[in-house]
């Protein structure tokens, strides 16, 4: 990266010729580091293993052999699974976004009792082990289940429903993160000029949110396109996707040629999706006027009377005067609020059904109803080496490490990408950097996991076999969490008007000070959200972890997976109880992370 990426025009304004070289050099170095650290991280822990693994499939007897492409593409099955992958991921994404945006409005733009609990709740599905959710879904849908009358068992619709179940919270959080900070005055101005709330939403608010929505959609698409457990448990091989096919070819057939071709196909699909999302983002991404979260929230109109009497609203009014549009304000939002509340209520109820089913069955024991499954969690289960509590502690520690790594790497990426360099080449490079860090979500965990095995034995001449070392687990999870951090922090950073930074620089603020006073405070709040999401992703990560986790320190999802696969009258109940623990721990931690910046008094 040759060009300085900062809002650079003001670079040489400060007095004193001798000092010019210093800060400039420093800036080059600073930005260089900010680009190099994440790139090296990604290259070593993602690109290298993937390239080596895929390369294995294309090299026969030391020579490049691309005939596998012809073989794989001549199978009708290949085209079918590519089609299914696209259909599944697109439908899952569209539905998640359609349901998630109203959810983001209600949970991040309105204030009501229980909002914090609800925010944490919608994140829970995101971390649950797919095999547990799959079985919980099937228990509802299969003959004999509560929803068997829908006849969805084993259908394509069931898979899409499960994908929405997992990703709804992701959309709510990613979009909500920007929405809660969006200055309501633009919308209010539109309404003061006579626009209906719906029109203001369509012409002012949604376009402003487009970058976050596109970001959430691309994340969701990647998660849906690489869904594995969900697809298998709910649909078997009939609805195989590129991901399940890679898994089968690699772990069961050892057909690395086919797996390599499919990995390339997966990459093409993912890059195309990112390109589309990137275009949607860049068309709409622009400086926005941001406000403190508390100033823009209002009580949803259906709850308003109650909240009024509780005296919550005046605080919002005092803090910014944003409600200056007065009587025409909140009541006018009634239709909007009602629609958002209705959609979200239905969605949350549907989310809750499998979860309630899971909890109920975790309370069923061979002796009738009770807490025996939970009591059993405190000692090593069956012949498993550790208790569920030990695994919980391991998971938390690993997730903390992974979150830390992801915040550093993802924070740097977001910072670099948030800049808009003047030169076209540099601008393209920045966009490319953004896309590259999304790739880990779109590449099969099997490819990455097997790749680790091939390259992490004494990497770079180090005397460590990283393949069987616990060190690699948080790193592998961080690779997956980085894109989540970027997508949460970036829209907020980008929304800062670059002219503000330029003004600050002109007034004599050093680049560091600009960062500290302009980007820092805004980023902090977003980082709370990002940390929660990264933590959740790490807690729930199973794919790559399962290839790496040492059994003397398994993470909670790995333990759940081993429990559910064991015969025995008690182990299934214990697996469910352990999943409930995972859900509760996640909800608690996510809620905590959301409060952190506020508690530290850093909200702008």
């Amino acid at each position: 990266m040759a060009a300085p990426l900062g809002p650079s025009a003001g670079g040489g304004h400060r007095s004193g010729r001798a000092r010019v070289a210093g800060p400039d050099l420093g800036r080059y170095l600073g930005w260089g580091l900010a680009v190099a650290v994440p790139l090296v991280f990604l290259a070593v822990f993602f690109a290298w293993p993937v390239v080596v693994m895929v390369g294995r499939g294309f090299v026969t007897d030391g020579r490049l052999d691309l005939s596998a492409f012809a073989d794989v593409f001549s199978r009708p099955r290949t085209w079918r699974i590519v089609g299914l992958t696209l259909a599944q991921a697109s439908l899952g994404t569209v539905l998640s976004v359609l349901l998630g945006v109203p959810g983001a409005y209600l949970l991040y733009r309105c204030r009501f009792r229980g909002r914090g609990v609800l925010r944490a709740f919608v994140t829970v599905p995101f971390v649950l082990p797919t095999v547990v959710v799959g079985v919980a879904f099937r228990s509802l849908l299969a003959p004999g289940g509560l929803l068997s009358f829908l006849h969805l068992d084993g259908t394509f619709a069931a898979i899409v429903a499960a994908l929405v179940f997992f990703n709804y919270g992701l959309v709510v959080r990613t979009v909500g993160g920007l929405w809660e900070r969006l200055d309501p005055r633009a919308e209010q101005a539109a309404r003061a000029l006579g626009a209906s709330p719906w029109r203001a939403l369509g012409t002012v608010t949604l376009p402003a949110l487009a970058p976050a929505i596109a970001g959430a959609a691309s994340l969701t698409f990647l998660f849906c396109a690489t869904a594995f457990g969900t697809v298998l448990v709910l649909g078997g091989l009939r609805f195989g996707t590129v991901e399940t096919e890679i898994w089968i070819q690699t772990t069961q057939f050892l057909d690395l040629r086919a797996a390599a071709v499919l990995s390339v196909v997966q990459l093409v699909v993912v890059v195309a999706a990112l390109w589309v999302a990137g275009r949607a983002r860049s068309r709409n991404e622009r400086a926005l006027s941001l406000a403190a979260p508390v100033s823009s929230a209002h009580a949803p109109s259906i709850l308003r009377r109650h909240i009024d009497s509780a005296g919550h609203r005046p605080r919002a009014r005092v803090s910014t005067g944003a409600r200056a549009t007065g009587s025409k304000g909140p009541d006018d939002l009634r239709g909007l609020d009602r629609a958002a509340t209705a959609v979200t209520a239905v969605t949350v109820t549907l989310l809750a059904l499998p979860l309630v089913g899971l909890v109920v069955r975790s309370l069923r024991t061979p002796d009738g109803w009770g807490l025996a499954n939970y009591a059993a969690l405190s000692h090593p289960a069956g012949a498993l080496p550790v208790s569920v509590w030990d695994a919980t502690v391991t998971s938390l520690r690993v997730a903390l490490d992974a979150t830390t790594i992801a915040l550093v790497v993802g924070g740097l990426v977001a910072l670099v990408v948030s800049r808009r360099p003047r030169a076209v080449a540099a601008r393209r490079a920045v966009a490319g950097l953004d896309a590259v860090f999304m790739l880990p979500l779109g590449v099969s965990a099997v490819t990455v996991g097997f790749g680790f095995l091939l390259v992490m034995d004494r990497p770079f001449g180090l005397a460590v076999d990283l393949r069987t070392s616990p060190l690699l687990v948080p790193v592998a999870q961080a690779v997956v969490a980085v894109p989540l951090v970027v997508r949460t922090v970036l829209p907020v950073l980008r929304a800062i008007d670059p002219r503000q930074r330029q003004v600050a620089a002109t007034l004599g603020a050093s680049p560091g000070r600009v960062l500290r006073t302009m980007d820092g405070p805004v980023a902090l709040r977003a980082i709370g959200l990002a940390a929660g999401l990264a933590f959740a992703a790490s807690l729930g990560e199973f794919g790559a972890t399962s290839f790496l986790a040492r059994p003397d320190r398994p993470t909670l999802p790995v333990l759940v997976y081993r429990l559910i696969g064991r015969p025995g009258p008690d182990t299934y109940g214990m697996a469910l109880a352990a999943s409930v623990v995972l859900a509760l721990v996640t909800a608690l931690v996510v809620a905590l992370f959301e409060r952190l910046p506020r508690a530290a008094g850093t909200v702008v």
Partner: protein, 354 residues
């Protein structure tokens, strides 16, 4: 300097981290002779304290690595042949044995095994394994199970044989597992290939026409679809293990409510072996001897739901009573499995998933 704002934001989690990275045990620097690494599948488990006893007896500590199911295990061993993941492996079964042997990832134990149970396992050796690289440790049968309670309640005669399963009386009553994603599922496919020879595809066509349900894995079939699996299942016939009935003895009851159809079983054998290129081959051999000791062999039924090969080991009373091994289980030579695995699975997909 310019990163201070961000770093400030990061300080909280960093401080809170009490870094697990820092707390992780240092990579093994012990000299050969001190530690062995066992690479096994994720169903491997032994009761608390047993691995510690091995350390007490031999001085070797055991590090366990579990990369996935049996297929994943074998494929990882093959891929990492030049830089093996450990010293010894357990869990390669007779359906994957040829792949491991052909790839040359295993070497015969040296020094030669001294455990008395070695001769008991002789009958289960892979015929093509002329050097004795794979040592049989335990065996088990994958069998069709039936819910006695359901058949009694509905006044239907229970099926007994593979052919019965295609009869109209059992339409829409049988749930099995996909051979492409489940190891019992693959074992059952082999049972049908062994029983029906060239007619196996016609047999599966008949099963399909009779409404067989195919799940991706055992946990799904047992917990969701089987009538005796604890859920609200609708299928009283399930593909499981010969040991499964033991888990269906009701509280306070004296006998299980389900049974295994011993005419439908495929015999699985699990092997241990020393990895080629092991850093500690002597320790690896010592561990295989330990796996054949009565202490481990007696623990295998309770921990891994398999039957010991050792004639001096005993199975729990309820196993002896309700979970006998099949007297004439089906089998397919390991070399045939290796040669035809993809082809059979492809044909199976065409017939059943179509």
């Amino acid at each position: 300097m310019r990163k201070r704002a961000l770093l400030g934001a990061l300080a909280v989690p960093v401080l809170a981290a009490c870094s697990a990275i820092g707390a992780a045990p240092a990579p093994a620097t012990t000299t050969a002779g001190g530690e062995i690494t066992l690479v096994t599948h994720d169903s491997f488990a032994l009761s608390d304290g047993i691995l510690a006893d091995f350390t007490k007896q031999t001085g070797y500590t055991v590090k366990v690595v579990q990369p996935g199911d049996a297929g994943t295990l074998v494929n990882q061993l093959v891929l990492t042949k030049d830089a093996p993941l450990g010293d010894v492996t357990f869990g390669v079964d007779n359906t994957f044995a040829s792949r491991a042997l052909d790839a040359g990832v295993l070497v015969p134990p040296s020094p030669a095994l001294s455990a008395a149970a070695v001769k008991d396992g002789q009958q289960y050796r892979v015929p093509s394994d002329t050097t004795g690289a794979l040592t049989p440790i335990d065996v088990g049968d994958v069998c069709v199970n039936v819910d006695h309670a359901w058949f009694t309640a509905h006044g239907v005669t229970e099926p007994k044989t593979l052919d019965d399963l295609t009869q109209p009386a059992y339409k829409n009553l049988f749930v099995t597992e996909s051979p492409a994603t489940s190891s019992p599922g693959f074992a059952f496919l082999l049972a049908t290939i062994s029983a029906k020879g060239d007619g196996w595809q016609a047999y599966w066509k008949a099963l399909k026409d009779n409404g067989v349900k195919v799940d991706d894995g055992w946990e799904n079939a047992w917990n969701v679809d089987y009538t005796a699996g604890g859920g609200n299942g609708q299928y009283p016939i399930v593909l499981s293990y010969s040991s499964s009935p033991v888990d269906t003895v009701p509280k306070g009851g004296t006998s299980p409510t389900t049974g295994a159809l011993l005419d439908t079983c495929f015999r699985q054998v699990e092997y241990a072996g020393v990895l080629a290129g092991a850093k500690n081959p002597a320790g690896a051999a010592a561990f295989i001897n330990f796996l054949l000791s009565d202490e481990v062999q007696n623990d295998i039924p309770g921990s891994m739901y398999m039957y010991p090969v050792s004639s001096s080991a005993s199975v729990p009373d309820e196993w002896a009573k309700w979970a006998p091994l099949a007297t004439s289980p089906r089998s397919v030579p390991a070399a045939d499995i290796a040669a035809h695995r993809s082809e059979w699975l492809q044909q199976w997909s065409d017939v059943v998933l179509g």
